[in-house]
Amino acid sequence: MKVNVLFFGVTADIIGVRELELTAEEPTTAGSIINQLSRQHPALANHKLLIAINEEYADANTVLNDGDELALFTAVSGG
């Protein structure tokens, strides 16, 4: 299955792109995608990441479905 992964701010700087399409075996959780990305980009592990799936906050144990949009970002700092 395919998952579209979005990055913002810190995570976009670490990954080097703002969007990645990943192919993963089912079932895959948000957390396993983070682990996979952290192996390629160790700096990711220095930050506490928030997770959104299809524009809703979710936790690392959430199982992803084909076509999901997964967003990974650090604690928000708007205002």
Binding site: F8, S77, G78, G79
Partner: protein, 149 residues
């Protein structure tokens, strides 16, 4: 005369935001505005750094959804009439307005309470990030919030 939640790369005029939430029966509008600060104290070192400018970035569709949720929650919880939230994105010079939250209510107590709740929640939950740019570098600010409860 109704609620709105917007992201904009244009300068924000506080007056127009405050006025757009005013229904004719209302008595008070309370407006919070945040703006780009010249000086920021580093929380770890206690040192004060001078900021050149700021850049705000958002996960735009989710940010608008989260702002709309906050408006719905505020209207369910407080005796208020209308809420307007406008957050600026992109590059902001020092002194420019980053966010305006205006709340109108028949009684000003509820407007104060709701406005204060809204800015607290916005800073905790709405996916927007601030980059501070200094003479000698730049840093994405990481919020203090844990995951959404």
């Amino acid at each position: 005369m109704s609620d709105f939640t917007e992201l904009t790369t244009d300068p924000i005029d506080i007056t127009s935001v405050a006025r757009r939430v005013v229904p004719s029966e209302c008595g008070a509008t309370v407006t919070l505005d945040g703006y780009a600060r010249r000086f920021t104290k580093d929380k770890q070192t206690g040192e004060t750094r001078e900021t050149d400018y700021l850049v705000y970035e958002a996960y735009e569709p989710m940010a608008v959804r989260e702002m709309q949720k906050l408006v719905e929650q505020a209207k369910a919880e407080f005796e208020i009439s209308n809420v307007g939230i406008v957050h600026r994105l992109g590059k902001l010079e020092i002194g420019e307005t980053s966010v305006v939250i205006s709340v109108s209510a028949p009684h000003r107590r509820a407007a104060f309470t709701a406005c204060e709740w809204l800015i607290k929640e916005l800073k905790r939950t709405v996916p927007i990030w601030k980059k501070e740019v200094y003479a000698d570098g730049e840093v994405w600010v990481e919020g203090e919030s844990a995951l959404k409860p």
